[in-house]
């Protein structure tokens, strides 16, 4: 009690030590914050990794019914030249049967060319051609995808991702 009353005058008027204390703490906090971010951000993809983010694919050698796997950003990209019958079938599937409903039309730019990222949306394995839906089967936990790369059997929750791509010419596509 007596201590408190004695401390009062000090509290009313800040001393030089108080000012030093507050100033040091403030500069210290700003200093720490400004190094923490670089320490965290250095782990994000660097410029050379980002520079690899576009890949050009030549479509000429891919015959109808054929699949190829191309590496893009370190990940596999599946390119499939779908015969018209396969396109018809995959477009006939009712939305109610899909786990992640999406039309085939929304997933391709040119009907026969399916371009999807070959990374299973469950935990990232690369599915193999196979399964019951004319598409892919993931060896890790058994997810299945159809000829539009849409998930048809869990545990994967989502359809195979469609990367951003553009047709430079009708037989050459740039992914990324």
């Amino acid at each position: 009690m007596t201590d408190m009353t004695m401390a009062k005058p000090n509290m009313a008027e800040p001393t030089r030590r108080d000012i030093l204390y507050v100033a040091t703490a403030a500069v210290g906090v700003v200093g720490v914050a400004s190094v923490i971010w670089p320490l965290i951000d250095q782990m994000n993809p660097d410029l050379s990794t980002l520079a690899l983010s576009k890949t050009e694919i030549d479509l000429k050698p891919i015959a109808p019914g054929q699949n190829i796997v191309v590496k893009w950003q370190g990940k596999p990209v599946f390119v499939r030249n779908r015969p018209p019958k396969m396109v018809e079938e995959v477009r006939a599937v009712p939305m109610s049967e899909l786990i992640d409903p999406e039309t085939d039309q929304a997933r391709v730019k040119v009907a026969n060319w399916l371009i999807v990222v070959g990374v299973c949306t469950h935990l990232g394995c690369t599915p193999n051609v196979g399964g019951d839906y004319d598409g892919w089967l993931c060896p890790c936990h058994g997810s299945q995808y159809d000829a539009s790369g849409r998930v048809r059997h869990g545990p994967a929750p989502l359809n195979l991702l469609v990367p951003t791509y553009e047709f430079k010419t009708p037989t050459s596509v740039v992914v990324g």
């Binding site: 782990m43 994000n44 590496k71 596999p76 394995c125 690369t126 599915p127």
Partner: protein
């Protein structure tokens, strides 16, 4: 670590040094005169075995790091170079790879020892939680170590485990990209995993020091689960426990050596002798045996309410380890040692079987059958912590707990048999 020391250095130079850095006294009080319960059984030697394994992993690891190249182009070949060209490289690598297995074997025995004898109960909660932290750090270290040889299992194991974080709502994808340093597991990932694999064991060593410090405040628990009361209950650490621990470490090292020299790839996976290929996933991905129960939990968890299976699996997997940290408060029984808890003992073994069962399920391909079995075992695992332990403390009638450690040990030989009746406490519930 245990109060003021009675240590008196004998030599003049020893005295001179002790006045300047009293480390001799610290060692003397912690590992020479430190009083240990006289009834410790061989399960109490696993602490020393673990300390030995940590030193062994650091020694072989630093030697391997002198030859290993953390670059996706060269990593696989540098490990092959270690195996074929580096003097004794094969030995160092087999020691290190099998050392991880032995480390986990020892830590599981050590943890189950604690579970059975109630070593997590007051006043040892902080000690126990430090142990859980060490266990987590060990898992992170071993996971990242397994990525370094950059074989098919390394690569795809890393892919599946880092993708767990993508289950986190909203920020999941940013976190995985950040972890990878790219858009998939690749060279930047390998490089940072090596840096962290080098760092974490030294962090483990730091937490181990805290763990032993926290241990030396109350001292060791013991099979009877009653605290030492008189000097009759304890023996000095040296020579009694230094000898016992050393003997156990040597036996363990022989067991370890058998694997290293006769079946060095027994715990490995043939696919990891194929270089990493980002475009082809192996037919089946299996983690190392010590992760199998958690892998089974990850794969078996169904959708829970509004939480999708993928996130639920991740939560259940982390929860299955985190729940250990809450053990001191989940177990409501006042009786420490399982030796005096007949019903607990049965559930303890059921729990151990659930863990082993989950491990088996984790090693099998996914089918309807394995998923169902996994779910049943998963329920058993969590029920033990969340239902059985809280209720058992209230419902179980424990056996009569001995009055003292000396009683528990010497009573059996008849020398203090008459004391036994005299000091008997009525058995208490809870």
């Amino acid at each position: 670590m245990s109060g003021p020391s009675t240590y008196v250095p004998k030599s003049a130079i020893g005295k001179w040094f002790e006045q300047r850095l009293p480390i001799g006294g610290l060692i003397h009080s912690s590992f020479v005169v430190f009083p240990n319960p006289r009834n410790l059984n061989y399960f109490w030697t696993f602490g020393a075995i673990l300390a030995f394994m940590l030193v062994a992993q650091i020694a072989t690891g630093v030697a391997l790091a002198m030859h290993y190249i953390p670059d996706a182009r060269f990593a696989f070949n540098s490990v092959e170079n270690i195996m074929r060209d580096v003097n004794y490289g094969w030995l160092l690598r087999y020691l290190h790879a099998n050392g991880a297995t032995m480390f986990f074997l020892a830590v599981y025995i050590h943890m189950l020892r604690g579970l059975y004898y109630g070593s997590y109960k007051a006043p040892r909660e902080v000690l126990w939680i430090l142990g859980v932290i060490i266990f987590l750090l060990m898992m992170a270290t071993a996971f990242m170590g397994y990525v370094l040889p950059w074989g098919q299992m390394s690569f795809w194991g890393a892919t599946v485990i880092t993708n767990l974080f993508s289950a986190i709502p909203l920020v999941g994808n940013f976190i995985t990209t950040w972890l990878w340093g790219g858009f998939s597991v690749g060279d930047p990932t390998l490089n940072r995993f090596f840096a962290l694999h080098y760092l974490l064991p030294f962090m483990i060593a730091g937490v181990v020091i805290l763990h032993i410090w926290a241990l030396h405040v109350p001292g060791s628990n013991n099979p009877a689960g009653v605290e030492p009361k008189t000097s009759k209950d304890t023996l000095p650490f040296h020579p009694y426990f230094t000898i016992k621990d050393t003997f156990a470490v040597v036996c363990f090292a022989i067991f370890f050596a058998w694997f290293v020299f006769f079946v060095p790839n027994y715990f490995g996976h043939a696919d990891n002798y194929n270089p990493a290929n980002p475009l082809v996933t192996p037919q089946e991905i299996v983690p190392e045996w010590y992760f199998l129960p958690y892998y089974a939990i990850l794969r078996s968890t169904p959708n829970i309410l509004f939480i999708p299976a993928k996130l639920a699996g991740v939560l259940a997997m982390f929860g299955s380890i985190a729940v250990f940290a809450f053990l001191p408060w989940l177990d409501t029984s006042k009786v420490r040692s399982g030796s005096y808890r007949p019903v607990f003992r049965v559930f303890f073994w059921v729990f151990v079987l659930c863990g082993i069962g989950l491990g088996y399920i984790g090693s099998q391909p996914v089918t309807e059958g394995t998923i169902l079995a996994g779910r049943i075992l998963l329920l058993g695992y969590f029920a033990f912590f969340l239902i059985v332990l809280p209720l058992l403390g209230l419902l179980e009638t424990p056996l009569q707990v001995p009055a003292s450690i000396a009683d528990a040990v010497l009573g059996a030989h008849g020398s203090t048999a008459m004391l036994k009746g005299a000091s008997a406490e009525p058995s208490v519930k809870g």
